[in-house]
């Protein structure tokens, strides 16, 4: 099975266009930080592991001192400048990371099939009790780093580094090929 062309998909995988992504590292408990982030996204600071979305904007909790802001690609530079300005007095790091990553959308015919497809590649606990819609998990997809979240029960978005996007895309095709339905979730 080294020929991907012989596989028929049961989930669909597509690479999304460039997504604006800003990495912000700071003390997330500071009100200044929450205010600055809200000014850009309209969203409050997410709880640990959560991802919040509103229109073209979003914010994902990445670690105790890091969030990722989602925004239209073209706006990134301006938002980074805004953050640097508003957080000037606070120790922080704001970076436009949009170009560093690729984003995939994975759509499955059923909620179970989606979780099955991902659970073949990621050691994440995909049980709905452990990973619901609106929760982002940083993990790995086979041998590459990745973050994943469910946008709705049958759709997931997966972030990976740009250099391995072909590998990740191929992995998802292999995992989502017909015959490989696990029927676990």
């Amino acid at each position: 099975m080294s020929d991907l062309s012989t596989l028929t998909p049961y989930v669909s995988v597509s690479e999304l266009p460039l997504q604006g992504m800003i990495t912000l590292r700071a003390d997330l408990s500071q009100k200044t930080v929450a205010t600055a982030v809200k000014a850009i996204t309209g969203l409050a600071m997410p709880a640990p592991r959560a991802i919040l979305e509103k229109g073209a904007y979003g914010i994902a909790w990445m670690s105790h001192d890091e969030v990722m802001i989602l925004c239209p690609y073209a706006e990134c530079a301006a938002h980074v400048a805004t953050l640097d300005k508003k957080l000037a007095k606070l120790h922080h790091l704001a970076l436009d990371m949009s170009d560093a990553r690729a984003v995939f959308e994975i759509t499955a015919p059923t909620a179970g099939a989606l979780r099955d497809c991902l659970a073949k590649l990621m050691p994440t606990d995909f049980h709905p009790d452990s990973l619901g819609v609106g929760e982002l998990r940083r993990s790995r997809v086979a041998q590459a780093a990745a973050a994943v979240w469910l946008t709705d029960p049958k759709t997931a978005q997966l972030f990976a580094f740009r250099s391995v996007k072909q590998y990740v895309h191929d992995l998802l095709r292999v995992s989502g090929a017909k015959g490989g339905e696990v029927g676990y979730f």
Partner: protein, 1000 residues
């Protein structure tokens, strides 16, 4: 002869025949058969030859413990050796070949070993082939390898696909017999997330075969009802054909699902390896019947009594027409009763216990079966099939006695709980005197992270011989595993009372050596009672040593049948107690799993992540000859038609030094370090001073680990007062980022510093050569890139040809050079516009080899060439990059130690061969005299060596003892072919020592 009965067979469908081939012979079985039952139905009692003596071997067992009946399955891209016929479900078109014989199964020349058996005892090879020494490698080993070995390795690429699956559960239950089912039911009712796996295709284990009645129903009915109840529980997952393969630390477990082995025409992954995180695990793995050790116990037709019963009940297949059962326990009588009911002639039950009584014995007696108590089998008779047994008193030497004709023998030496999975992660065992078996010691379970036991045992695996006790233990296991009481009512069990077994390890008790040398312990590896006794006599007291000396339990079945019998014989020979001798170590997997399952999806296109730069596709289109650099693929060079690598590299370097070259440097590591303490942090990371670097400027620096060894190097750019951009080597990016975070999080948590790895955010292109600036000016820049405005080792933001860019005036080639970073998504367009605009200067893309040669011409070091983890900056003459002013930096203290601060260390110099040739890579610099091993003494080695197109001769760098003090001296180097080459020590800088070319 073995045959199919008109009646019986709970797992087969008599209406559907299935055609298959064994050794090219067409045969027919029934849907639901295993290959074993189908072969027996066709009277194929001889299925293979043993490993060492090539003795004829038949099917011994009915499950995973089968030692003999291994075959090669399938052909070509679907061939797999050493498959147990007992666990191979029959399918239409199955092809099997028996193993370990030549020219054929029936007529095997290797059987001559059998007649030489007394010259081939344990340790024979060790003792015999030790002298003369060279003979082992060149004569003995090839011959032994030819005659030994089981299946053949597949030659073709595997046609199937495989995958992994990660599951996280509260409770993993391994084994789907009645204990496992009951445990799943109870844990399911508690609401736990449960995964129940069963290695066979059927639920219920032995209960249906043994005729147990549960809750007023037959075992089959109870199983069906229980499965229905479990099926309604959304929190319980049931999986057949899935074997618990291994239990590891912290509740990690592997299960091996054989998805399409029984239906290979289905387009699906063949095997799926379940990688399970379980809070708790219950092993309900049952028990395995032990053989009895009597002479000739390996002749085809002699099998486990339980297997004989399984074939009758499950598949309607009789192992013979006239049966003898030999048993030291009551369970063996079940097989006699089943055979009798099936209409077979039961010649006798041989029971070495003089006065055993019990329900099953009484039942056998009233069925009219002859029971011979206090009696043993002196020897089984026959060649390729059993023809009879000679019987004698158990307490005798077996020299006299009558012969009972028979064509099948069922033997039962008692049952051994399957403790493998309990033991994998450190669960300890206790010796159960009454049942003569090791069973899990509940006081010493495998421990999890919290110091609590995480594996619990249920059913026969816990040493319970009755269904009632098994079900009760399942409930107890669930309660213990989940910490919640279990309240469900157990079904009422109707089953016979079982009496005590007699621990009989040799039959008859005083058998002489001729008989003991025919009593097989390990069928697959041909280890007999006499071999283990010999090992004991020769001083092998540890069971682990005996195992290795005799190979007991070292075959593909890992001693499932031989383990207890073998160590009981060893204990007896050592006059020790069995628990004092102990067991060998149980290691995963429980039975062999496929290599494909272990690899999972990682093959072909997704074998490994292949990292591609934003410009990768252009390189492919332009014929790049790639080399791996970590997981990246980078162009080594770009050969044109008719060019070899050497010619291409030469052309690329000459074009770059002569006019204009272009390098895709995107793989370089890029890490942002920002914060009020960034300068302080950088000063600790680097050996030189970084905090004094001015914004807008770059500085080359070295990073050492805490042992003082040079770890990485690169150019640092200061972006602003608080922010540094660290360039690392391509291979160092992830590691250096992790190194930074390690120190920040674990040691210097009070430093106000944030880091981020931005390597992939940028495409980076080096524009190199005398015409580099002209090219950028032609493209158009909104920023002055002149030598005055942007001098060497400065950087600036600029818009070049419409691209937002960051331009670094740094050079790894010694030429005028600009390294330009643009957003990764624009990297390819930027590269193309450079190529297009550079045509008038013959712009030439160059690869990693050109990069390496040009840096060597300039005497620049390369991490991984000049360093190997034992080299310090001082060795490389980089003292100028080590701050004397700084109070501390990582590696400073280590570099002050006596063996680091030592004039005798090898130091970096240049080397030029006297004949102008290229020195061999890694060549040693020879010193007079020999060392203790008779080898030449050495005083240095070559670290980098190339042909320099610029100088038109070979150049090299080498680490040489006192090298810098020996300029001009001629030294001898090994040429790798036994000869020597003369080379002169020189400066490491071969080209433009004043740096005039880069500084324009």
């Amino acid at each position: 002869m073995s045959h199919r009965l008109p009646q019986g067979g709970r797992l087969i469908d008599k209406a559907r025949t299935v055609a298959f081939e064994f050794n090219g012979q067409k045969m027919r079985g029934l849907a639901g058969d295993t290959l074993a039952s189908a072969l027996l139905a066709e009277d194929q009692m001889l299925v293979g030859r043993s490993f060492k003596y090539h003795r004829p071997r038949g099917i011994v067992a009915s499950g995973a413990e089968e030692p003999n009946a291994l075959v090669g399955l399938g052909r070509d891209a679907r061939f797999e050796p050493n498959q147990r016929v007992t666990t191979t479900e029959l399918f239409e078109g199955l092809e099997a070949q028996s193993q370990n014989h030549w020219p054929s199964l029936e007529n095997d020349i290797g059987v001559v070993n059998n007649y030489l058996a007394r010259f081939l005892p344990a340790g024979f090879y060790y003792k015999t082939f030790i002298h003369p020494r060279p003979f082992w490698k060149h004569v003995f080993e090839p011959i032994i390898r030819q005659s030994a070995g089981l299946g053949k390795a597949p030659k073709d690429r595997d046609a199937d696909r495989y995958e992994h699956f990660y599951a996280n559960v509260d409770l993993l239950i391994i084994g789907g017999g009645i204990a496992g089912l009951q445990a799943a039911l109870d844990a399911g009712k508690q609401g736990k997330r449960v995964l129940l796996v069963e290695q066979t295709a059927h639920w219920g284990g032995r209960a249906p075969v043994d005729g147990i009645e549960l809750g007023g129903k037959s075992a089959d009915e109870w199983i069906t009802a229980t499965l229905a109840a479990l099926g309604k529980m959304k929190n319980v997952t049931l999986r057949t054909r899935t074997m618990g393969a291994g239990v590891y630390d912290h509740g990690y477990a592997l299960a091996y699902e054989r998805v399409t082995d029984h239906a290979p025409s289905v387009d699906a992954p063949r095997h799926r390896l379940w990688r399970i995180r379980a809070a708790r695990i219950i092993t309900a793995t049952g028990a395995i019947e032990r053989p009895l050790s009597f002479a000739g116990n390996d002749i085809p037709g002699v099998m486990l009594a339980s297997a004989l019963r399984d074939y009758l009940v499950n598949y309607g297949v009789a192992a013979g027409k006239r049966i003898v059962i030999a048993t030291n326990n009551d369970d063996g009588y079940r097989s006699a009763l089943v055979a009798k009911e099936a209409g077979l002639e039961v010649a006798a039950v041989i029971d070495p216990r003089p006065d055993a009584t019990g329900d099953l014995i009484e039942a056998a007696r009233s069925a009219g079966i002859a029971i011979k108590q206090g009696i043993a089998i002196a020897e089984a008779q026959g060649g390729k099939r059993v023809t009879g047994v000679k019987i004698c008193a158990q307490d005798s030497d077996g020299s006299t006695g009558e012969v009972i004709a028979c064509d099948a023998v069922g033997m039962s030496g008692g049952w051994s709980p399957v403790v493998h999975l309990w033991s994998h992660c450190g669960g300890k065992l206790i010796w159960d005197e009454a049942q003569a078996c090791f069973r899990p010691d509940p006081a010493r379970p495998p421990l999890s992270h919290d110091g609590e036991g995480f594996v619990f045992v249920a059913g026969a695996a816990d040493g319970h011989s009755t269904a009632a006790a098994s079900l009760k233990s399942a409930q107890a296991a669930v309660a213990a595993a989940t910490g919640q009481a279990v309240k469900s009512r157990l079904p009422k069990v109707v089953e016979p009372e079982l009496g005590a077994l007699a621990p009989i390890w040799i039959m008859p008790a005083r058998a002489p050596i001729q008989k003991r040398a025919k009593m097989w312990l390990d069928f697959q590896n041909d280890v007999k009672v006499s071999d283990v006794q010999l090992a004991a006599r020769e001083g092998y007291e540890s069971v682990e040593h005996t195992k290795r000396y005799t190979t007991l339990g070292m075959a593909t079945d890992q001693g499932k049948l031989s383990n207890i019998n073998g160590l009981a014989v060893l204990a007896d020979a050592l006059q020790a107690q069995i628990p004092a001798v102990g067991t060998t170590t149980f290691r995963p997997p429980y039975t062999p799993i496929s290599m494909g399952a272990i690899a999972g999806e990682a093959r072909g296109a997704v074998f490994q992540p292949l990292r591609r730069t934003p410009i990768f596709d252009w390189h492919v289109e332009h014929g790049a000859d790639f080399e791996p650099v970590g997981q990246w693929r980078r162009p080594y060079c770009y050969p044109r038609a008719g060019e070899d690598r050497h010619a291409a590299v030469t052309r690329e370097i000459n074009a770059t030094r002569g006019s204009l070259g272009l390098l895709d440097a995107s793989t370089l590591g890029k890490i942002i370090v920002k914060g009020p303490d960034a300068g302080r942090f950088m000063d600790m990371l680097y050996t030189n001073m970084m905090s004094t670097l001015k914004p807008g400027r770059c500085r080359y620096g070295l990073m050492c680990n805490e042992n003082g060894f040079l770890m990485d190097d690169g150019v640092v750019a200061r972006l602003d007062e608080e922010t540094f951009l660290v360039h690392t080597t391509t291979g160092g990016a992830d590691h250096i980022h992790a190194h930074m975070e390690d120190w920040l999080q674990c040691e210097w948590w009070d430093f106000k510093v944030y880091t981020a790895n931005v390597t992939e955010r940028w495409a980076q292109v080096a524009v190199v050569g005398p015409n580099a600036r002209k090219l950028l000016e032609k493209l158009g820049s909104d920023t002055d890139l002149s030598a005055e405005a942007l001098p060497f080792m400065a950087w600036t933001d600029a818009k070049i040809g419409g691209f937002e860019a960051r331009v670094f005036r740094i050079s790894f080639s010694g030429e005028l050079s600009f390294e330009i970073a643009v957003p990764a998504s624009q990297g390819l367009d930027f590269w193309k516009s450079l190529i297009e605009a550079g045509a008038e200067w013959n712009i030439t893309p160059y690869g990693t080899e050109g990069l390496h040669v040009m840096r060597a011409e300039k005497g620049f070091i390369m991490i991984g060439d000049e360093t190997d983890g034992t080299v310090i900056p001082q060795d490389l003459g980089l003292d100028w990059a080590i701050s004397k002013k700084k109070e501390d930096y990582l590696g400073k203290r280590a570099q002050a130690r006596s063996f680091m601060d030592n004039p005798d260390r090898w130091k970096l110099v240049g080397l030029e061969a006297l004949d102008g040739g290229v020195l061999p890579d890694g060549a040693y610099v020879i010193r007079a005299g020999k060392n203790a091993n008779g080898q030449n003494n050495v005083q240095g080695r070559v670290t980098s060596t190339y042909y320099s197109p610029t100088l038109k001769r070979g150049i090299a760098m080498a680490l040489i003892h006192n090298g810098p003090d020996r300029m001009g001296e001629v030294v001898n180097l090994t040429d790798g072919k036994g000869g020597q080459i003369k080379a002169r020590i020189c400066s490491t800088i071969f080209f433009d020592p004043e740096g005039e070319k880069q500084n324009v």
